[in-house]
Point group: C2
């Protein structure tokens, strides 16, 4: 039995969209893993692991270009409409956000490497918690993308508030440490920087979640002043 051409094209197209999704998940998995490694390096004082994160950006950058290229070809060759067009535009944006998360993992690992030149400033508790939230936001955002799950995307937006609260906590703690022990100013600044980078990972996961809500519902939730807590 031969498949009629139009159905063949349709199937092939669906398959391409599924592949595109799969590549974004691979990229998200890399980004999440690298964030985890960077924080593990900080807690375990493992300079070699930090170096590994710093040197290991290549797979994400390669995927970034490949996914952009897939999106461009899908738009050029398939001329998708409505929800398919919105999905591919969402993929273009999610791809950009994931690439930035990869960059942030490198930035965190660089701050960790500098931090490890100094004796420990304090026990690292809140930063690994921030990282765990940021990783969970990323994972949920990508799950929401695959399952077109607006409720899950909404929960990603809610988690961002927790991340912000922890960031403020970290800031207050470190300000106290620096003030009472000026010798710790330099390494404390690196811890502060790490908390800011983690906050930005949360911002990128938030962007992804907002893109998904738009993709699924064609409803633009960006720049809505009031958001349910």
């Amino acid at each position: 039995m031969s498949i009629p051409p139009s159905e063949h094209i349709f199937r092939h197209y669906e398959e391409e969209l599924v592949q595109l999704q799969g590549r974004l998940l691979v990229m998200g998995g890399f980004a999440e893993e690298r964030l985890g490694q960077a924080l593990h390096a900080a807690v375990q004082r493992d300079v070699a692991l930090a170096e590994q994160v710093i040197a290991g950006d290549e797979p994400i950058n390669t995927l970034h270009k490949e996914i952009d290229d897939r999106c461009f070809k899908l738009l050029a060759l398939r001329q998708p409409l409505a929800v398919d067009l919105r999905s591919i535009l969402a993929a273009v944006k999610i791809n950009t956000d994931l690439e930035r998360v990869g960059d942030l993992a490198v930035n965190i690992a660089e701050a960790v490497r500098r931090y490890l030149h100094h004796p420990p400033v304090k026990e690292l508790v809140d930063l690994p918690r921030m990282a765990a939230i940021a990783q969970s936001m990323l994972r949920d955002a990508l799950d929401a993308f695959v399952r077109r799950d607006v409720d899950l995307a909404q929960r990603v937006l809610d988690q961002d508030d927790e991340l912000d609260a922890l960031k403020r906590q970290v800031f207050r703690d470190l300000l106290g440490v620096m003030f009472s022990r000026p010798a710790t100013i330099e390494p404390s600044l690196d811890l502060l920087l790490i908390s800011r980078h983690l906050e930005r990972v949360g911002d990128h996961a938030t962007n992804v979640a907002e893109d998904i809500i738009f993709m699924v519902s064609a409803r633009d939730v960006r720049h809505v002043p009031e958001r349910p807590a």
Copy 2:
């Protein structure tokens, strides 16, 4: 004389692309202006101006949605190919970058407002210089977009090195200040934060420049390890 339908469509389409460009320029102009105001508020110790920047994000957010919508409709209704498709995808990405620059202007103004609660830490020289470079990068990137000027886009990439050098200078200076006068730690942190935000404005201008090089030449210069200085 009646215009044949195809030419009519063609003209209308060209006109839409020119309008799209125009809207991005307006948005870029707003972003640049707001950055300037935030720094002016810091130098002149003008709390009211900082408040004005914090409260004035609405026009950029409105343009962000409008431009996204224009791009979506152009893709859906015109099904562009080759350079036109690349231009619209570039517009989608540039729109995202400019919106983030708008957010950064707010973040800078918030740091300025906090900073102004304290006596001056030092004369502000390098931060306004950083802002001037970041603004010039944005302006050049948008000019390069309109004129499809790859050389100008390349010069944007080069300016980013200057911005990085100044950021490191600011860091060293403020570290010295905090160390010798712990009472200045809190306001100094806000100055540090402002320098990081300005660095990120430069990153966004760099993204725009890279998108333009891709748009014009279909050459992907992202993630190229060596870049001529």
